[in-house]
Symmetry: C2
Subunit: 343 residues, 2 copies
C-alpha cells in the first residue's frame, strides 16, 4: 500500500480517465483508435470478431479483505480473456469500467489498473475504452473482451459428437481450496486482529485463486498441431457444472473417469488439511479457468506430447446421461454443484 492518498474527486472524471490511461501503448495493429473518443475502432478485416463481458461486484465476486487490488485487476481481465480462448479465438482488445466509492483513493485505483495493464501486456491485448463512475457502495468492475478468429474457426459448446474424447487443461480445484484458506484466515483475523495469517506453504492454491491465468498456450497448441476441438468452454463454475452444460448443449451424455481428473499434489495436500476430498473440490470448486473441450478420437495422438492436457472421459448418447466412474468402480450421475453467485 502506498502511503499517499489522493482523493479521486479532486481529479474529476476526465482527469481520472486521463490519469489511468496515460501510459497505454497499443500492441495490436487492429487497434485503429483506442481510449479518448466516443468509442474505439477495431479493424478485423477477414476475421470474425469475438465479444464477451463480465460484471464483478465487491462482496459477491471478490472480498477485498484478502484480495490485493493489483491481483483483482489482473484477474478481472484474465477471466474475460479465458472466455475468448474458450471460443478458440485470440483476444485483442478490452474495455474496463469501474464504479468506485469514495473510500478508495487514487493510489488504490492505480494498483487495480497496474494489474489490468499487467494482464494486457502478458496476453498482448489493448485497453481501448471504458467508463468510470462513482458508486455509493463497494467496488464494481465491468470488463468486455474483444477477440478475433479466422472465419468459422470458432468453437461452440454445442457441437461435441458422440464418441469424442473429453479433455481438460491444467489441473482443477486449487482455486477453491485457496479460497477456503483465505476465508479461514479472514475469520481468525476478524476474531483476533493481532494474529498473523498462517498461509505458509499454500502459495500454490492461493495463487491459483488470486492470480489465475487464461490458457492462451492451449489455443496456440491447437493451431500449431492443427487440432480443432469439436466443442469447448472454460471451467469457471466447477468441472461438474461445465460438463453438464457441454452435454446439454450438445445433446449428449458422457463418461468421466474420476482417476483421470487432473489434481495437483499441492492441492491434494491442502485439501486434506481441511479434511475434504480433492476430487470433490475439482468437481464442484470454481474459478479454475481451465479449458474443457472435446476432440475427435482421430486427434488423440496429437495430444500425447502436451502434459498440460488430460483426457478425462468420452461423449456418449444423451440417453445414457452424464456419468462419473469412481476409483472404487462405482458409477454415479454427475450433478451440478458449481458455484452459483445468484443462488
Amino acid at each position: 500500500m502506498s502511503m499517499e492518498r489522493t482523493e479521486i474527486g479532486d481529479l474529476g472524471e476526465f482527469g481520472l480517465i486521463e490519469h489511468l490511461t496515460r501510459n497505454i501503448e497499443i500492441q495490436n495493429v487492429s487497434t485503429i483508435l483506442g481510449v479518448g473518443d466516443d468509442a474505439a475502432v477495431i479493424d478485423h478485416y477477414g476475421k470474425q470478431t469475438i465479444v464477451t463481458t463480465d460484471l464483478l461486484i465487491e462482496g459477491v465476486h471478490f472480498d477485498l479483505a484478502y484480495t490485493p487490488l493489483k491481483h483483482l485487476g489482473y484477474k478481472s481481465v484474465v477471466v474475460n480473456l479465458s472466455d475468448v480462448y474458450a471460443m478458440n479465438a485470440t483476444p485483442t482488445q478490452i474495455t474496463v469500467s469501474v464504479g468506485i466509492s469514495n473510500r478508495f483513493s487514487l493510489e488504490a485505483i492505480d494498483e487495480f489498473y497496474e494489474g489490468v495493464y499487467a494482464a494486457c501486456n502478458k496476453y498482448g491485448v489493448d485497453l481501448v475504452g471504458g467508463d468510470t463512475a462513482s458508486s455509493q457502495k463497494g467496488f464494481i468492475i465491468s470488463v468486455t473482451a474483444i477477440g478475433e478468429v479466422a472465419p468459422d474457426m470458432f468453437v461452440k459448446r454445442s457441437t461435441a459428437k458422440n464418441g469424442d474424447l473429453l479433455c481438460v487443461s491444467g489441473n482443477l480445484g486449487s482455486a477453491y481450496v485457496g479460497l477456503l484458506f483465505l476465508e479461514r484466515e479472514k475469520k481468525i483475523f476478524m476474531e483476533s486482529p493481532g494474529v498473523q495469517p498462517d498461509l505458509e506453504g499454500e502459495s500454490f492454491v492461493i495463487g491459483k485463486l488470486l492470480k489465475p491465468e487464461a490458457r492462451k498456450d492451449i489455443v496456440e497448441f491447437f493451431e500449431e498441431k492443427e487440432i480443432t476441438p469439436t466443442a469447448m468452454l472454460d471451467v469457471s463454475d466447477g468441472l461438474s457444472s461445465e460438463i453438464l452444460h457441454l452435454c446439454k448443449d450438445s445433446s449428449l451424455g458422457c463418461v468421466l473417469y474420476e482417476e483421470k481428473i487432473p489434481i495437483a499434489e499441492e492441492m491434494k495436500k491442502a485439501a486434506y488439511k481441511f479434511e475434504i476430498d480433492p476430487t470433490a473440490c475439482a468437481l464442484s470448486g470454481g474459478e479454475d479457468y481451465e479449458l474443457l473441450f472435446t476432440i475427435a478420437q482421430a486427434d488423440h495422438d496429437k495430444l500425447v506430447l502436451n502434459e498440460q492436457i488430460s483426457v478425462i472421459g468420452y461423449m456418449t448418447d444423451a440417453d445414457q446421461g452424464a456419468n462419473i466412474l469412481t476409483k472404487g468402480g462405482g458409477k454415479h450421475k454427475i450433478t451440478a454443484q458449481g458455484w452459483n453467485h445468484m443462488g
Copy 2:
C-alpha cells in the same frame, strides 16, 4: 407494475439468462453467434468495428423513484448507441450486464429487458451477450455497444479544422429541465406521500430525460448526402463541456452564437416555471444525446434542407479561445459546467 412476484433466486443464474433471452431474434447478418456460449461471434468483413461501453449505477446515474424500469432499459441501450453514431458508425450488437439486489423481482427485471429489447428493435441491433450478478445494494447496469463503419470513415473529436462550421442536431436542455420537474415532484412526494404528481404538460421535457433517442437519422442523412463531418461527438454532459472537449482535442478555439442554440418552445416554457434561463440549461444541462459536429464550409448547402441540424458557430485558432457571443452582443469565455458524476 405486475401483481406477481417471482424471486430471481428461484431460477438461478442460468435460468435467469435463459428466461431473459428466450425471445431474441437476430436482426444482423453479421451476428454469427449470439447469447449462450462463452462469447459472441461477429462478422464485420471489410468494415471496421466500433466498441463503446457505459456503467450505470442506481443512485448515481438514475433514480428508480421516478424512472420506470422499461424506460431505464431503453435509455441504457440508447446512450451507448449514441456513442457509436457519434463515430459516424452504425451500431449492430450490444451486450447488457446487470447487477440486481434481491429487492427486485423477476417481473421487475422483465420490465427492464422489455425496454432493452424495444431499443434493440428500434435501432436494429442484436443483444449478443451479457452477465447477470447479484448486487448487495442497488441496480447496476453495464452496456457495451459494437458497431461498424466503412474503412476509415469513422469520425473522431480531434480532427475539426479552423473555419469549419459548428453544428448540433435537434434541440438542447430539455432533459435537464425534465430532471428538475421530477426531482421537485419526488421531494413533494417524500414530504407528503398522498399528493399526486403535477407533471401536467411537461411530457416533452420529461420524455427527453426518460426516453432519449440516439440520432441514427443524422448519420443516415450524412451518408445519403455524402457529408463527412470533420469531427463529431455526442452531447451527454452539456453543450459547453462538449464544445470544450472538441476545441481541446482539435487544438482549436470557436465562436458560438447564443441565438443559434436550438431550444424547443416546450423547454423554454418549462424553464421559465423554474425561473431559469433556457440557454443556461442548454449549455450546462446533460443527457441530451444530440450530435455535436463540425463540417467544412463547402458542405453548408447540403445541410439546408434538414431542419434537425442547426449551425451554431464556427471553429477558430486555438489562441482565440472558446467564446460565446450572447444575444445582447457580449462575448464570454465558454466554461464547463456540465454534469460531472464524479464531482
